[in-house]
Subunit: 252 residues, 4 copies
């Protein structure tokens, strides 16, 4: 079990993380934060430093985005999760509650060691072509620096199927349960890349025993600067969260 | 919705198919049939003609196995599902309720056309490296012969991950829902290859909206002639089925 | 080494098979046959029964196509290779020199056993998601019927890369050399799906030690009824064949 | 074309890079350097900072290894190639001729930008699950800092096949030729993971049009601290290099 402020995850505790792919403005992040909190989300996500495939894509609001995210934390009381892409940015992450390592940095071992040294909870995403064993080895790089607060996140793997952005490997949940005590959460948004598939995959993840979900929510998906097609509206999220809590209760 | 005897599947109806990988003896198939029926299974599965990777593996009891399966049908009243591997065997399948086309025959178009001509319900498994579009094209081969009674079955795709036998692609369920009206069921047994992972994946499939499950159950998995490591005991199956029905109710 | 008429393949002998994806008319198959023979092709390929993903695509000229192919054999003296998709068609294949089993039928064991019984040379294509071990097990189904004349064919496997139709796995050549004495040939046309990539991949296959090549050639690729984008013109083929023989000599 | 000291690569120029996976001692790196130079290698490779999947594997001799590599450069006159895993190590790389970005760092954009700023030639390896388009986008991160000296390296992608460590995608060579002017080289050692397959794949790469090869050579593979099973002996390398130059001449 990992404790983040008043939130517990793992060891029988279930939590939903929600928020936009990228922080885009104060109004946006605050509005999304309040709405997802009202629907039961325990933590707020929001990207400030974005690792994009192309140098010509939106790279995030960076330090300014981080400040807006922390403002939303202050106003809502929700712990925040945001991605780091360079150890050099660590000083800016002091008030961040959970540091996320993205799929493409899962084997950036210098970054793993650096976040290991902070002692802060780390949300480690599985690389899109990484085996479960490799995911655990990357967690080991963090833990060998003395930081046991690692949350594993399945977010889809790369296969030949093109209907979905990635193929969500939900068997990773019971499989990791056999291999480790670390909490395991699921990101159905990046896995599918399509808002229309997020509800089914979120509920499936809960039924498979996930300790949490991380879901992208945007107040205006059509105009999102990043990954709009996979973002839920706050209303859609409210519906998914309610069903997720119901399914969770069946497992208990 | 497809109707098989007193069983309905699809269009809001949910059904569980259970039974051994292979029919091995009269006692075995009867014992398994009675126990899975008691736990709520609607149909009985059991392989008679087995398509094995190696010619030196057990190839099934063939015609004799089929007879034993039909005897179990008679005694329990459960409709039966069994795999066909050659159009030449069709005369033996007259009393079979649902004809299964296995993953490796998904693009055996002569077989698809032959079962299409029978008009009988067909359970069509997705090839382990087939896209959803290709699965639908194979269904089209059956339907273009005038047979609309096709049930699609996701049973795992081949990826780089080696912890599981295949990677169960549950996003196929909502994805196929967007592409077709045919019922979609899930086989968590072949997908994972490990009995310890079947419960989680079965429940996840239900939460994702599957119209049914097909689960391998054996009265003595340790001595099964085929795929023992993925078979549940009747007791384990009873537990999974009960949970599956509970989760199904949350979705309704 | 396998002997087909005056052609030897394997055991130090190298041969090129060329011809159109589908037989389309007498003029077409004869024109292509003569031109590829002039460039050094040892055998003629041409599809009569086509196994297509969709029932609405061109399914080949069937028996009529086979007759035209055999006419081309008679006029040019070239042994012919053509695909079978149903054991029921075997009587039509009596004068065919090499029977091809396509990638999607690699595990159609009834078909494998049927061609095994004929004793005729069989060209067995690797399934697009089959391991080398599975390919050898399928060859075993043919050989266990007493037919040792099996030629293995690598034709690309399915991966996440979308620039090419499949990913040609040339390491299959030296790998199979370590596992079996059967000849191994390569089909760069289906592997890449793009005529512009065929030359490089054909030459690479030869350098990797392939016992032969199978290349699609059409007298008018732009109007081919099947797979035109991957067909070479007779002129392009002449160039590729000449280079291939040169590289082959370096290995000797 | 990229010029590195007296070596040219791309634009019709072909070069072989050879050396051990890891620098292990002065004697080792010098002995290997001299032998591969005698066989025609143009550049020397040797890892000092190793990015390993597990924190408990040998992580390289680090700064000391770099010094030994530079000593070998001084004594043999060969330009050297070595991997960087952290932008913080850049000051140590001042005398390194070509900086390598490994497959697992292909999307470590902070590192890409940092090596971009140096202006030094960069050898960028394709991630093991990256598309060609993503590889080019990563090259773009380097080039957008003003550094056009990027050499692309295909080193195998991850597939379902387990006989080889990765699946070497040689079609990447002609495909990248259609998409970019950057030189493309191939690493058959990491691709196959087996010394017995390296010769065939090296020659295939040359026949496919590669601008160069990067081959692992160790004076005592059985006792190598890293990746011994894929290393060639100096004698094996001499044979491969000679054949490679012969095949290269066929293409000219």
């Amino acid at each position: 079990m990992i404790t983040i402020g008043n939130v517990k995850i793992g060891g029988g505790h279930f939590a939903i993380i929600a928020g936009p792919c990228s922080v885009e403005s104060e109004e946006q992040i605050l509005e999304v934060a309040k709405s997802v909190k009202a629907s039961g989300a325990a933590m707020l996500r929001g990207g400030a430093f974005k690792l994009r495939t192309s140098p010509y894509d939106f790279q995030g609001m960076k330090a300014e985005g981080l400040e807006l995210l922390l403002k939303a934390k202050e106003k809502t009381g929700m712990p925040v999760v945001t991605e780091i892409i360079s150890a050099g940015h660590l000083p800016l992450f002091e008030d961040v509650d959970v540091i996320q390592i993205g799929a493409r940095n899962m084997q950036n071992i210098e970054l793993l060691k650096a976040v290991g040294k902070t002692g802060k909870p780390v949300l480690l995403k599985r690389g899109f072509a990484s085996t479960l064993e490799e995911l655990l080895m990357s967690a080991e790089y963090i833990m060998s620096e003395g930081n046991k607060n690692v949350i594993l996140c399945e977010r889809g793997i790369r296969t030949f199927e093109t209907y979905t952005r990635n193929t969500l490997d939900l068997s990773a949940i019971p499989a990791l349960r056999e291999l480790t005590d670390l909490p395991v959460i699921v990101d159905p948004s990046h896995a599918t890349g399509k808002a229309s598939l997020v509800e089914s995959m979120a509920l499936a993840a809960v039924a498979a025993g996930a300790d949490g979900l991380m879901i992208e929510v945007h107040n205006n998906p059509a105009e999102a600067l990043c990954d709009g097609p996979q973002a839920l509206t706050p209303e859609q999220f409210a519906h998914v969260a309610a069903k997720a809590f119901q399914i969770r209760r069946v497992l208990e």
